[in-house]
Homo-oligomer: 310 residues x 2
């Protein structure tokens, strides 16, 4: 049996401010997937959010090239002056996170994020902010700080708050494409819990009590969102460190806060990709698995270990 | 990328009536693992049950050879006249199930089980019963029917009930090694739920209400067992078709029946191996995953798809 060679693998999960025109999303995805060596892993569009999330992976250089091409296509095709949707955004290519998957660390990817940000600014004329591990000040680590005021309020923020000045590019917001946030982060789980109520105030109240910024769980960002087509609402969350703050804890806290309002949970959903261990954590929690239990008892893992590469 | 070739893979999960003498278990495991081409996947010994479960896999012929050698070692080393434990058993090598994993069906394995049974009977002088898919009458599909009365009551059952006559071998129970049941079945999940009570009657009452044979869930076998060392009890279950009757349903019914007695669940455990999908079923159930969720969103599965064999 041949020894598996660990190839460096970086994931990139750009968010684009378009979830209603499939042909635009398709053009962006094709621009990304056209780079050889890049694996397209997932594309999800949300009409209510009017937003799409593309996930792809590959070696560092190929991922940077594909990310740039996707951003360029979004800048060409999306005009934020006509954009409506339930999700905060400042740009056509709103945020471009790089995520270490294999053979590379968070720190290793900071220079890569800087190069990508500089190129977007220089070639497309779009102001770029660095966030997460690549942030140039502590407050700028936080995406929601950089997005405060949305596209509509961005120019004023850039003009008046030194902490909101871009890291690269012009001092003026791009007229149609806004600005782009580029950064490095751990794997993030986009996790939404749908509530059996149309009352957005309930969803917002629950989100406030669940998220880190207002007294809830660390590593959880949350907001209330109206789901127009379903006539319901949801608590839309980002779990930014699922190893410390797992999915089930966020789910259970949302459920507890919802009970306070006499509201049931209709369903939950994961948007984009999720590490397998994050789901196994949930199975183990709810089944109270203990005793001699170990994940090495999972048949497929044992077979992988003993059979090696097929 | 090279196309993965599907190699036939059969799992064998023999249960031996020894869980307290590690050197005996080791000798049996070594006899099995000594066959080239066989992958040893798991060994679990339970002192309370006084029983060990060995899991291995490989191509058909290699698995049959390894199973025979394991049974032979058990017949040499285990004397049921001195055996005590909480689990029903009729033999030193109590039951030897063959399980199709890949590239083979339940039906395909029936002739293999017949050959193994005949060899055990002829070379070791141990009566053999066929069960599961290999059973020679409908009642004999059920392992608990063949084990009724245990080792101590087996000779009388063989003498008086034509349905209890062995398929192969002598009409007399082997004096020290009893008899062996050989068969073919689907993947089975051995799943135990530990109760916060030392009262065996409570565990037994819950087991009665949970199992198929007395009004509970189909595809579930259950019994109450005392855990001497922990000072508690457990509902010890076999889930014989987890795709139809999943782990979470068994767990929730045990919990509901336990509440009836004012008894809490301390933990649960899986003994031996479990298919990954059986755990993902639980995560999806408890999180109420819906919407656009699909298992193709699991990062590792997507990477396997796009990267191919490493």
């Amino acid at each position: 049996m041949e020894q598996a060679v660990e190839r460096v693998l970086v994931e990139c999960v750009p968010n684009f401010s378009e979830g209603r025109r499939p042909q635009v999303v398709r053009a962006i995805v094709e621009a990304i997937a056209g780079v050889s060596g890049v694996y397209l892993l997932d594309t999800e569009s949300d009409e209510d959010h009017n937003r799409s999330v593309v996930t792809f992976a590959g070696p560092v250089e190929e991922v940077l090239e594909a990310a740039f091409r996707g951003v360029r296509e979004a800048v060409r095709q999306i005009d934020l002056r006509h954009h409506q949707g339930g999700h905060p955004r400042i740009g056509a290519a709103d945020v471009v996170p790089l995520v270490p998957i294999r053979g590379v660390t968070l720190r290793d990817l900071v220079p890569a994020a800087q190069r990508l940000g500089r190129r977007i600014a220089e070639e497309l004329g779009v102001p770029v902010f660095l966030y997460g591990e690549a942030a140039t000040s502590p407050r700028r680590r936080d995406l929601s700080f950089l997005r405060r005021g949305n596209f509509e309020g961005l120019q004023e923020a850039m003009d008046t708050d030194p902490e909101r000045r871009p890291d690269f590019g012009p001092a003026a917001v791009h007229p149609s494409a806004g600005a782009t946030v580029v950064g490095v982060r751990k794997p993030l789980i986009a996790y939404n819990v749908e509530l059996a109520t149309a009352d957005l105030e309930v969803a917002r109240a629950i989100a406030r009590n669940v998220r880190e910024s207002s007294g809830g769980l660390v590593n959880v960002r949350a907001m209330g969102v109206r789901l127009e087509k379903r006539g319901t609402t949801q608590v839309s969350m980002n779990l930014v460190d699922y190893e410390k703050t797992p999915i089930y804890r966020a789910f259970e806290l949302v459920a507890a806060e919802a009970r306070r309002h006499g509201v049931a949970i209709r369903s939950s959903e994961i948007v984009g990709l999720v590490p397998e261990d994050a789901l196994l954590d949930c199975a183990e929690y709810y089944l109270q698995l203990g005793g001699t239990w170990s994940r090495r008892q999972i048949l497929e893992r044992r077979l992988n270990e003993v059979e090696g590469p097929r």
